[in-house]
């Protein structure tokens, strides 16, 4: 397990004839996805555009995306892992338990048909969304898609891509990786980067009350996180940097208004396929950029006495 077989969105536009959306509602959440990248464009090798492509939607309920699909597979909530594991077995020609397959809401016949279509595709792609990654199974649901796609490459060209959330979450992931080696859930408390989702990831740290201060930038946990996390944020010194006064700002100790990135502040945004695009601000803002504020805070922090020991007496633990 491990790894990912993927491409940039232009490859999908130019080649994909079989597109699966799994656990997402692009019609509402990524409104330009169909028209820019995946369905309607005439690609270099898909000259017929929409007519040269088949779209399969897998979700727990009907959303506005269904009407754009050719095949809609309604899977029972929390059963994606079972479906994907079954598909991996069917790909290898192994027998599966028909009754347990039926519990997923999709019959064995339907899944057999799906796997055959996938094998016959010239270039297949699975876009997977938060309906998959945030439901029971979480990262292992993602792993299931990644593994299936890797194995499909023994038969035909197949790729997958996570459909990322709003803001520059991909950019944060990219920068974290090049500077720490890890995409998120990073602790620098021992002076070097350590990674352990569940131990150092934000919700877990907050719910366990493992931190005694918080700086929130570009997010609004006060609106989205479980109540114990919010209560903890309210009880410790919390600092918020945001163009708007958010739910988190209202329970924070300090709120600093900053310029809107992309409108007034420059930078780079990384698209869901990790292509970097320049941000070209068009309006001036009376507020400082996030970058300016962080730099000024860092200057003050540098004046404090060093807190890490000059040499490590203990073995740094992984």
């Amino acid at each position: 397990m491990g790894g990912k077989v993927t491409c940039t969105l232009g490859e999908v536009k130019n080649r994909a004839d079989f597109i699966i959306y799994w656990g997402g509602n692009p019609a509402d959440c990524h409104p330009l996805h169909f028209t820019r990248y995946t369905l309607t464009p005439k690609g270099k090798h898909v000259p017929l555009g929409r007519k040269g492509r088949t779209m399969v939607l897998v979700d727990v309920r009907e959303t506005p995306s269904v009407k754009f699909s050719d095949i809609f597979l309604q899977v029972r909530p929390g059963k994606d892992f079972e479906v994907l594991t079954t598909l991996r077995a069917l790909l290898k020609g192994r027998p599966v338990d028909e009754a347990r397959v039926a519990e997923t809401g999709l019959s064995l016949a339907v899944l057999q048909d799906l796997i055959e279509r996938m094998k016959k595709a010239r270039f297949g792609v699975i876009f997977f969304g938060m309906g998959l990654t945030m439901t029971r199974g979480k990262h292992l649901n993602s792993a299931a898609i990644l593994s299936l796609v890797a194995e499909l490459n023994a038969f035909t060209k197949f790729v997958c891509m996570p459909v990322r959330g709003h803001g520059n979450v991909t950019g944060a992931d990219v920068v974290m990786r090049w500077s720490t080696g890890y995409p998120f859930g990073v602790s620098l408390s021992r002076g070097y980067p350590r990674f352990n989702p569940g131990e150092f990831s934000t919700i877990d740290v907050l719910v366990r009350r493992d931190n005694d201060a918080a700086l929130i930038l570009g997010a609004d946990p006060g609106a989205t996180m479980p109540q114990p996390a919010i209560d903890h944020l309210a009880s410790i010194p919390t600092i918020v940097l945001d163009p708007k006064v958010t739910h988190t700002s209202r329970l924070a100790r300090v709120h600093i208004t900053t310029a809107v990135t992309g409108i007034s502040a420059p930078g780079t945004v990384y698209r869901m396929d990790e292509i970097p695009l320049p941000l070209k601000p068009i309006l001036r803002s009376p507020y400082p950029t996030d970058e300016e504020v962080i730099r000024r805070i860092r200057e003050k922090v540098k004046e404090k006495p060093a807190w890490l020991p000059a040499s490590f007496a203990a073995v740094p633990c992984a």
């Binding site: 079954t86 292992l140 007496a313």
Partner: protein, 270 residues
């Protein structure tokens, strides 16, 4: 025996990998008190958080609610570590030998990637017991872990050898991508044995199974009779007498292999 009694609750987690028989065994009382731990980002002395009684020894007793004290017994190869209370994450991670006993609960990652030794937790454990750390191809490769209560997600993830016995129920993905070894659970939630390559999972109560497992037969495997006495020191008993019932054998996970087995106890209807 050296005794450390927690005298102040750490607000943020305390990382105490220095509290291991290998580190403490030959140190003087003063030196043990001066051993470094990390409270968040600051290095602190052991005696800022523990009353220390005795000289360095390879038998350590820790008293108090150490639910936020992480890495106790990390990498130990010998001796005995007793926790009269709860223990924090990564208890006995990378352990090679010796014994750890916890009277209360433990947290996530008990015995992460351990290769030998014995860990016994009286209460509950968290997730990832005996598991591979993220990205590692292999988890536990030897040793024994016994949990008296329940445990969380991904118990025994990618374990290769050794024994894990959980008296209570575990959450999803017990034995995921297992390569070998034995995992015994009182019960489980979903997706037990997902993507397992080899190894044996034993459940003492019925559990839901993935479509990629197939029923093979009902029998009383000889090896369990041999195993049972080994589990006694963990306070865990497993049934094996034909007069009491038998095990339903399921093989899988055919998504990746056919060599894994899940044995589910079925008591004889009286």
């Amino acid at each position: 025996m050296i005794t450390l009694t927690l005298k102040a609750e750490p607000g943020v987690p305390l990382e105490a990998e220095a509290l291991s028989p290998d580190v403490v065994a030959n140190l003087s009382h003063e030196k043990v008190r001066a051993l470094p731990m990390f409270l968040g980002k600051r290095q602190v002395r052991v005696d800022e958080f523990f009353e220390v009684d005795g000289d360095g020894s390879d038998e350590i007793e820790i008293r108090g609610d150490c639910g936020k004290v992480k890495w106790l017994g990390r990498g130990m190869t010998r001796g005995r570590l007793i926790v009269a209370g709860n223990a924090g994450m990564h208890l006995g991670a990378y352990m090679k030998g010796g014994t750890i006993e916890v009277s209360g609960n433990a947290s996530d990652w008990v015995g992460g990637e351990m290769s030998g030794g014995l860990i016994r937790v009286g209460g509950n454990a968290g997730g990832q017991v005996g598991a591979a750390y993220r990205g590692s191809r292999t988890g536990m490769t030897g040793g024994t872990i016994g949990i008296g209560g329940s445990a969380g997600l991904e118990v025994g993830m990618r374990m290769k050898r050794g024994t894990i016995a959980i008296r209570g129920k575990v959450k999803d993905f017990a034995g995921i991508e297992m390569k070998g070894g034995t995992l015994i659970v009182g019960g489980a939630e979903l997706r037990t044995g997902a993507w397992m390559q080899r190894g044996t999972i034993v459940s003492l109560t019925p559990i839901p199974l993935l479509p990629t497992f197939a029923y093979a037969c009902s029998y009383n495997p000889a090896f369990l009779r041999l195993y049972a006495p080994q589990l006694a020191p963990l306070g865990i008993s497993i049934p094996f007498e034909p007069t009491d019932g038998s095990y339903l054998l399921h093989t899988g996970d055919v998504a990746v292999s056919e060599k894994g087995e899940i044995l589910v106890w079925q008591p004889r209807a009286s």
